[in-house]
Subunit: 154 residues, 2 copies
């Protein structure tokens, strides 16, 4: 816990999954509907500060989010990045990219290439409930107890 | 093999390690001495196009490069990214970042923040032989046969 760290102080987005090690959040980014982050709960700086088992757990979670994004949003490309230059608390960006998005084929941190395509963005925003469900299902599958508890609660 | 793909047609940098699945290359980037890439040999687009065992192999290799960079260059931060918007052939950027580099704390794809620090860059370039040795050693450790073959050849 680092008092000056925004990922220690807040969830960092709409929480779609949370366990004792990490959480998956959906980011509210007008240009990138479906932009998710996988955030390690503890204030750790680099992937190699984790144990090998923890690294694997982190990346398997990133892969679940990538799969859910591909299944529900069919992006032209997935971008994965762990930068942390501004917020050195381990987190992965999992970003669905489209040939019509404002930065493509550049990185989302590069200069914009075109105006936003409002109709396409609205269409993708309409797919977010399917994405939420796919991510929750992907994590419930590997954690039958949580799934069973969720079933009891509903 | 895709005839129009530069990572199918060429190594993509100075090869520090190569095996049947992937290769590690050192990039000649004046602003980022030590910038490495881990490139999957086959023309595959996304991480989730690999099998789980292959994903693990890829990420364990990225982690070896990250460790070697931290040990030999002591960067302020490591940046990891798999984008592939321009070259959709699976490859990871493993980038040592410093508070004095031209883009910090932005991504290397963002606009420049300052002039290059020539003395620091020269110092880091002088550490590249140590990096090369550390990466070779990291991959030789996990592959005693390759190590032994290399010893026979030398």
């Amino acid at each position: 816990m680092n008092e000056n760290c925004e990922l220690c102080a807040s969830a960092g987005g709409e929480v779609l999954h949370a366990d004792e090690a990490l959480r998956v959040v959906l980011i509210d980014d007008a240009q990138y509907p479906g932009f998710c982050r996988v955030i390690w709960n503890a204030h750790v700086k680099e992937m190699t500060d984790l144990t090998p088992a923890e690294r694997s757990r982190m990346m398997m979670s990133v892969m679940k989010v990538e799969s859910a994004l591909r299944e529900t949003l069919s992006p032209d490309k997935i971008n994965l990045a762990s930068l942390g230059n501004m917020t050195p608390h381990l987190h992965w960006h999992v970003i669905p990219r489209y040939a019509d998005d404002v930065h493509f084929p550049g990185a989302i941190w590069a200069h914009e290439q075109r105006e936003p395509h409002a109709a396409k963005l609205a269409e993708r925003a309409g797919q977010l409930d399917a994405l939420r469900a796919a991510i929750r299902a992907a994590f419930a599958e590997s954690n039958p107890e949580a799934s069973s508890n969720a079933a009891k609660e509903s």
